[in-house]
Assembly symmetry: C2
Homo-oligomer: 693 residues x 2
Amino acid sequence: MGSTCEINAAMSVWRRLSLFVLASSLCSRLCRAEDSAMENIVTEKKAEESHRQDSADLLVFILLLTLTILTIWLFKHRRFRFLHETGLAMIYGLLVGVVLRYAIHVPSDMNNITLSCNVTASPATLLVNVSGKFYEYTLKGEISGSEVNDIQDNEMLRKVTFDPEVFFNILLPPIIFHAGYSLKRRHFFRNLGSILAYAFVGTLVSCFIIGSLMYGCVMLMKQIGHMGGDFFFTDCLFFGAIVSATDPVTVLAIFNDLQVDADLYALLFGESVLNDAVALVLSSSIVAYQPEGDNTHTFEAMAMLKSFGIFLGVFSGSFALGVATGVVTALVTKFTKLRDFPLLETALFFLMSWSTFLLAEACGFTGVVAVLFCGMTQAHYTFNNLSPESQERTKQLFELLNFLAENFIFSYMGLTLFTFKNHVFNPIFIVGAFLAVFLGRAANIYPLSFLLNLGRKYKISPNFQHMMMFAGLRGAMTFALSIRDTATYARQMMFSTTLLVVFFTVWICGGGTTQMLSCQKIRVGVDTDLENFIGPDGVERRSTKHESAWFFRIWYNFDHNYLKPFLTHSGPPLTATLPACCGPLARCLTSPQAYENEEQLKDSDSDLILNDSDITLTYGDITVSTDATGAHTSGTPVGRVTVHSDEALDRELAFGDHELVIRGTRLVLPMDDSEPPLPLDSHRYRHKNESMS
Amino acid sequence: MGSTCEINAAMSVWRRLSLFVLASSLCSRLCRAEDSAMENIVTEKKAEESHRQDSADLLVFILLLTLTILTIWLFKHRRFRFLHETGLAMIYGLLVGVVLRYAIHVPSDMNNITLSCNVTASPATLLVNVSGKFYEYTLKGEISGSEVNDIQDNEMLRKVTFDPEVFFNILLPPIIFHAGYSLKRRHFFRNLGSILAYAFVGTLVSCFIIGSLMYGCVMLMKQIGHMGGDFFFTDCLFFGAIVSATDPVTVLAIFNDLQVDADLYALLFGESVLNDAVALVLSSSIVAYQPEGDNTHTFEAMAMLKSFGIFLGVFSGSFALGVATGVVTALVTKFTKLRDFPLLETALFFLMSWSTFLLAEACGFTGVVAVLFCGMTQAHYTFNNLSPESQERTKQLFELLNFLAENFIFSYMGLTLFTFKNHVFNPIFIVGAFLAVFLGRAANIYPLSFLLNLGRKYKISPNFQHMMMFAGLRGAMTFALSIRDTATYARQMMFSTTLLVVFFTVWICGGGTTQMLSCQKIRVGVDTDLENFIGPDGVERRSTKHESAWFFRIWYNFDHNYLKPFLTHSGPPLTATLPACCGPLARCLTSPQAYENEEQLKDSDSDLILNDSDITLTYGDITVSTDATGAHTSGTPVGRVTVHSDEALDRELAFGDHELVIRGTRLVLPMDDSEPPLPLDSHRYRHKNESMS
């Protein structure tokens, strides 16, 4: 018997395994097995009990969410703005966590005792031989040595603890997709340069600042002997990356309710949405930092370049996949008459958006980043091809999924404070982290704003900067990234500290938003278009010609003349804008409506997703005002707009109010802010804001 | 070393386990382990590869569904009715199955090789010691001996094979809930007695007939030596139970499109929805048949009684839980102003409906049955409390989930024909099964119809019976029940045969529906209300006083006077209908609108879910016609209707056309069929059928 347990290391893994199989089957005969029929029943019973336990656990969360919903309603009913739904969900999660941790004791079940057996590597699936019957086990994860000793006590708590991948595979995608799908595109594109700067440069800066500060803190802790384990610089950088992902959902909700300045909203929202993506890929790149040699934590240029390459590759790959799926969906909805069947159209939309995620994951990219860009592409192109009913259905569907997933995550955050077994709360680290987060945010916002203001015509005022500084809440993405891997001491300390950072920012900063708004004298109740016409009194005014004017103009022309006609029914038709040699292709790709639509199709006024085609009205109006109806089939580039110079663009955009009748939709939308509206006509400029929330 | 592997059988399990832990850790030192750091990476890599593979697998299904949707659109576009979406999904599943089985070969990955180790029982969780690191594995299920040998080849196929519990936990609940939620209640309640008879009595009869016939077939096979394993009478009964669950989704869709007689629709739909529930619980009861003694397949009265008791207990327990959750949701939506926030209301509705399932599962009942009755309760009560926007949202949400889940299951059915590794196709069994299914359906429909017709005033005509016989398609429930446990030879044979039965009925019977309709001369294009006024020429006419008149009347009074006022805003108010002693309670439970609503709240005309309160109009009209507006706060039981005799009820129902103005909704709904409408007023009787699909 003993010899079968001795395995020659020189043999291949497979031979080792087969020998071991032999060994275990020999061993098993020695162990007196239970009656095999009884085992069958026992196994089924255990599976059933496990299932019942899982159902009960999930039920706890459902009831948590139900309670949260009812309380949210109560708060809305009484206009209570100090505690947003996410902060509330966390509180309820905390309460339930306390109950589960201290009030409920589940006696250990003998049947659930875990067994140990000898393997040489941990495979994905494990086949267990029980007296001739084979049972399949799947790898759930690694558990720490300390947990092993407390198996019984921990059983209940571990059961309400989800596999962290649930966040990345099930909960975050709807949230991120919804963020992309509901982007208010006009203001987003206006501030595109600044948003990209904050999201990319700002996050990187924040990451390094926080990482360096934490490293100093960690060094200090090691000096005074407060460090219970390893904590390397890469860990500090990782912490910097994950805690740089902002999630100001509370603040944005309040901004919506109070109708705060749309550019501030766009800056915050755009930054948060993109920096989630950046932080995610950045943290993966940091984790992928693998220098050669024994010490995996020394600096090595090659490894760093490789990490950087991974960052670029994963980000652009995910971006490409997300956009590609959006484009495919747009084409499918354009060239089929699915709009006659809203159910089919909605189902297709949902499936294609979900497939983005799976495709990105299957190809080794990041699904969450892909769905973000897919959502943005869908909002920009596909949305215009959907029937009105499908537009409503898809918006409502993702709004619901977003709501449920978000509150679930925040409830879980509260719960984890008590159910997570490996918390490492270190006061010095915590204080250091709060300081680092504060300074990191400041290093992100203020220098960048200064640099951006050098290029912006309408500056980001100091009070906006203070608001952005204050509104750097942390939330779902930070939490998910920190809980993803809590195997090591360093990661556990980071997780515990991250929880506290999230709690503090959501409750304190989120709750103090209204006060901060008044303290910073930021205007509320702002009508999106009226504000276009307030004179240059230090408050930003809108015009398409500002904000990365050159970059934006290039993009805008390309989008208006080629992408939109290609992917949607909007005009000008490709037959007009493409060179003559592509004639057949253009005819094939142009839908009949494009000939009728010299302007782009309009979304309804009350649509949440503002189509930035309303910018184009002025364009369209200049060329089309005398030909608002009727189809154009000639080759005359009636709809084509080529901007030859800044002055020409300015002139085109400088027209005042135009009343345009578009396909029966009466839409009045002046685009220039150089002339204030005539008071008598002021009502004509009001853009319905009913559905801004 | 050898001694540690010998374990004394007299020791307790725990001591055995602890010794074994010791043994394995000693053993592990002999086995040369890989570098632990490398192992970490290897483990993460394997987890990641496993994740990528899972994503790819799911992507296959998403693309299948997408293809199905596009083809469905094409069929609808061209009015092609011979292949319904479910049959189409199965075909695509088949094609992909063929590709996966024969065209794709995935080389076995060393890392995925399963290991074997020695345990004495199969626990729910397994702790694996890999050189000091502990990994947790969870029990996935049992796999057969033959699969073990073909691990590599099967790896790819097994990956696209889902755990059967996915059907019962994720896919079936939305389908069944939607069936309950979208029940056309007027016709359902009119034919309630017949529906219950077909669903309960008919399913039991079908189960026993099929079981007995199959037992004969099995005996024959044993005689001639074609039986490769055990096949007991309980297995035959189990087969009878699972194959008695009808799922005529194809037929009903065609009925909807062509607007076939609403009673035929109600009979088929109601029967299929309830017999799914009955078959599910019946099959569980049969599985739970556990006589004492060694031979688990002999007849034993006590065990049979116990099975029967389980059937009753589980069914009524699930029923009670489903209804209870529906009631709670109704009360919550009634007493809060959630209707101001459609998102919150929809989210709450969704969560509470989901919680039914979890609650039932956690309590050991059947979640699928519970969600059915929850859906019916929600449709009958909660729906009336929702805001119009929430009504739309919830309908659309569950319609979408139903669509996706259903097509997923049917795709999977097609796929399984090729990816399932343990098919047992036995020609004799298959032929016997088809025969038994045919005869079982006949034994269900014809005798019962004869008996029911003795009591019904408006008979179920022979052509209706033939149509019901023909429309006994099998589908999702049968498939899910058969795939749930395929461990034994008998179960595998049943699964393979069930697949073929489903294919045949869906493709052939479903495809031949239109022909059968014309062959049986069943009217199409029937306007639901006009048909009320066609004279007694042998075609069923409708009246509330028929179909379980006594039973229905009792229920109707109770529902109208107590349940509806309690759970919704409809009148008559409880203060009027409850005895004086319950005054305070009644005042507490009555909402202000109830005083204004002497009639029940009306759903919109185009609402899919027809509120059977339109039956009550006549009631309401008799007592309220002069007081259609204004609140009643007196104790006079104005709204209360007590029916004292059949004649009184007949008289009340015998009024001709009444034009009622309800809260601004112009609704004309005559309820009696004894007088044909005046031709000039015929347009007034048309009930909008736009949204019947």
